[in-house]
Structures are given as C-alpha cells and as structure tokens.
Amino acid sequence: MAKRIEAVNVSAYYGSFRAIDNITMTIEPKSVTALIGPSGCGKSTFLRSINRMHEVLPGAKVDGQLMIDGQNIYDRDIDVTAVRRTIGMVFQRPNPFPTMSIYDNVVAGLKLNGVRRKAALDDACEKALRGANLWNEVKDRLNRPGAGLSGGQQQRLCIARAIAVEPQVVLMDEPCSALDPISTLAIEDLIAELKNQYTIVIVTHNMQQAARVSDRTGFFSIDSTGEPGRLIEYDDTAKIFTNPSVKRTEDYITGRFG
C-alpha cells in the first residue's frame, strides 16, 4: 500500500528566510529515495515538509503542493494528524519517550490514537519490533524503560515506533549519523526490508550509504549561504553515482565540494 509522493513547486520558509525553493520531484512507491547534499542545503527542511512537520516550528511555512493519492496535503481541509499517521518519520537523534517502557514506546502511536485492545497492541508491538530487527534483543524486557537501551537500539526502537502505526511512507533524517557501523548495517538491512512495504525517503551524508540503500537519489545544493536550497539533480542512484548529468553533482560526489 505504499504511496507515491509528488512534490510540485515546494518552497519552505523559516520566517522570511526561504530555506528551499521550488522543489519538484516524484518519489516512487516501494522504493528508497536518498536525499544528499552539503550541510544547510535544505534536505531536512524538505523532508519535514513532506509530513507537515515543518510548520511545527513557529514562523515556519510551506508553499506549493505535495500530492499523495491525488490529494494535496497542504489543502485547508486536510487532517494533519491523518497525514502524519500516513507518513511516519524517524529523526536524526533517537527520541524514545522517557517516561514509557519499551512496549509503551512502540505502541504509543496506536494507544494514543485510540487502540485499546491488549491483544491487538501486543501483536502490533511484536510485529513492529521484529520489523525493526529489535525483537530478539528486547523481548525479555519489554517493560523496561526505552531510554535504557543503547543508541543504536533506541534508534531501532524509534523505527519500530514509526512503523507500528503502519504508515505508507517512512521519512528518515540521517537515521544512522549517531550510530556505530554495526547498528548502521542493521538499519540499512532494515531499510532494504522495509522497502517491500513502504515508500522510504532517507537523508544521509554518507555517499556509500546512499549508493547502497537507495534506488533513486536527489542531490540538493545551495549557491551560497543565505540562498535557498535547490534540487540540482534527481535520477536513478546508479546513474547519479556513475554518470551524473550535472557537473555540480559530480563535483560533490567525487569530493570536489560544491
């Protein structure tokens, strides 16, 4: 049931500062799309506009259209919570709820959206934790605090939490940047599995990671500080990394910054 996302002329602002400018791209269902680019070019901002998390910050607003299933999520009659339930998000830093157990963390999205049946919650918890490759590590201590796990485990807990509500799309903002190589590998494997069911968009600074996990890659950049970020090139990952059509992409990928 993964969904296609079509961004049409999306611009995002922090107050009067325009952070991204006229992004138009189509994100295919059941695929992994990587967003790469230098720091401050608006990758996170764009990612957060996809599930309406951008507007959580005071003064932040988004222009343009973001179509899912033929509906523009920025239309006035859209239910924001429904959008966010459909498009889940995993953040750069693991953020488990500190007052909750592992179990409660995983089912938080279901429980707080009205699912009461214990059996349903138990099933969802196991399924999500298995999906996030965490079940074997935590199945004996589900009622211990989620904040007591290691960083990598916490991040997988957050992924489990995000997929427990069965979204159509999962957005990941540098999900591995705080993790060791082994946890990173676990999460990359996980992304490869999740791809069978979900549409995945991942922001990463790690070129190898982008090349390994993604089907398509979008390269963002800015002309200079203070300018808005733009989508420079968007193509199949194989093409971007072997034979990019834009010089700036090639410079960035080969390490000549730009």
């Binding site: 959580v56 005071p58 919570t81 966010r84 953020n95 007052t99 707080l112 959206n113 957050c158």
Partner: protein
Amino acid sequence: MTVGSHSARTRVNLKAQRLPKWAPAALGAGAIGVAALAVHATGFGGPVLTGVTAALLFVVGLAVLSAVVEGGRTSRDRIATSLVYAAFVLALAPLLSMAFTLLSKGTERLNGYFLGVSMKGVSAFDDAGGAYHAIIGTLEQAGIATLITVPLGVLGAIYIVEYGRGRLATLIRFFVDVMTGIPSIVAGLFILAFWVLIVSPYLNNGRPEYSGFAAALALSVLMLPTVVRSTEEMLRLVPGALREGAYALGIPQWKTIVRIVLPTAAPGIVTGVMLAVARACGETAPVILVALGNPAINFNPLSGGQSSLSLYVYEQAGTASKYAPGRAWAGALTLVVLVLTLTVAAKLLARRNKLAR
C-alpha cells in the same frame, strides 16, 4: 638530530608539585590552635571570634603555602574552594540552628494529647489545650487552595508554553510575574473585600460569612503564580524532540501534552506545587483577615471561623499564659513536620510513576 632525542627534549611535563594530603588538615588544626591562644585565652573574644580568626588564618596560610609550593593557579583554586565551603557552612548554620531550636522547644508539649484536642475553654491558667482544630484548618484550607490552584496553574502554564503565541501569552506572563509580588496581606484584603463582604452575603442571608474557604481563596491567589511559573519552567525543559516524535506518530497536540509532555515534567511540577503549598501553609495574615480563627474545632470550611497552624502559633506566641509559648513551639514543629511529610509524600508519588531504571 634523531627523532628520539627530539621527542625526549620536548616531552610535555604533566606533573606538578603538590602539597601533601595532610597539609590542609594540619594547617587547620594549627590555625585553630593559634586562634584559641591569641583570641580565646587572652579573653579578647569568645568562640565566634575565635572561629572567624581561625578560618581567616587558615585561608591566608593555605593560600601562601600553596602559592609557594604549588604555584599561583592551584593557590587560587584552594582559596576559592575554602570560600565555597565557608559560604556553605554560613548558609547551613541558620537552618541547623532553627531545626535544633524547633526540636528542643517543640517536642516538650508535642504529644498525642496536643494533637488530639482544641483550645476550646482553655484559660490562661490551664496546662492544657492542643492544635487539633488548627491542624484541621491548615489541611482544609491548603487542600482546597491546592485543588483550586493546581488545575488553573498547570493549565495556564500549558497555555503559555504550548499554545500561547504573541501578545496574550506575553501579557499573561507579565501578570503572573506581578502576582508573584503580591504581599499576603493584600491577597487577604482582596478576598475580604471581594468574597467575604460582597459575594458571601448572597449565600448567607445577607450577612458576610468568614470561613476557611475564604482563606483558601486568599491562599490560592498566593499559590497561583508560583505554580504557573514553576510548571512553565518544567514544561520548557521537556525537549522539543519528544513533542515532534509524538506529532510524527499522528498524535494530536493535546494528547501529546497530556500523555507525553506532562508525565515527563511531572516530578518538577510536583516540586513546584509543593513549594507553593508550603508557602500557603505558613501564611498567617490572610487567615486572620478572612477566617478570623476559632479556638474550637470547626470541620466545615464553608461556614464559621476556622484556625490554622500558623495562626495558632501567632496567637499562642502572643497569649499571656506561661503555657502558651510551649504550645506555640509545638504548633510550629507540627507545621514543619506536616509540610515536610506532604512534600516527601508528593515526591514519592511523582517518582512512583517513573519507570525503574
């Protein structure tokens, strides 16, 4: 020149000359000895002056010794450390002295009898009477005030932190700040004029009604700003990442606040509320003004005068009877123990909800 000799010549020296471990203790003992001889033995001053002289000698001696042996930075470090300890002792002294006085004088009359009877019919010549009526008054007044204040204060803080943007929130914050500075007598006068003299006659056949409830209202006025401000601070400490994590699951904002933000901030909020309760329990002026006091037991906070522990202490301290001061001390000790018990209980309750690490 070989690489080896180069690295040996420029080897960083990480060691430093240190005073032996026993030096400060020995210096302290020496300072006390010298001070005792120079000040106490000569009759120049008492124990306090001796202590101060010893402390000064110790700091100066340590600073000089350390500067000579260990160098300037360590010497300054030792001076600062000594000053911090001195400040700590100075700050602790009144507290310990008060606790000691309270315990030594308060325990004399504090017993089951004192806690179980009121002052009804006790004359100046009777070695009798207790604080039962005052304990009831304090519990009821502070309890009602807490019931009024906590929902209002926490909701107000939630508005300021989670929803309020722009003018209104700034205005509310400003007025909360102004309220913090209201003297308790003014709060009492306000409730006297507003509730007792204007509103209560409608509920009581045209006659103004002094009551424990009116006292609770006055205490609420005093507690509200403390509760709002401390809750506000605690809510601000909850990381935005937690809220975003909840929003990203499609959890509505109000549920995020109730189920995630408030539980995370709960221990801090409880501390703030208990500070406010402790302050309310100690207030005397508003109780005198609007609850009048009452030597007899009055369980009904809605009608008739009521006493409170702080009012009881005030009354007994001013009563011309040789038994009154003992009752005042016992009342004061009861009040402190009561507030302490409530605080500890509330903290335990707030902690129980937290998961065991």
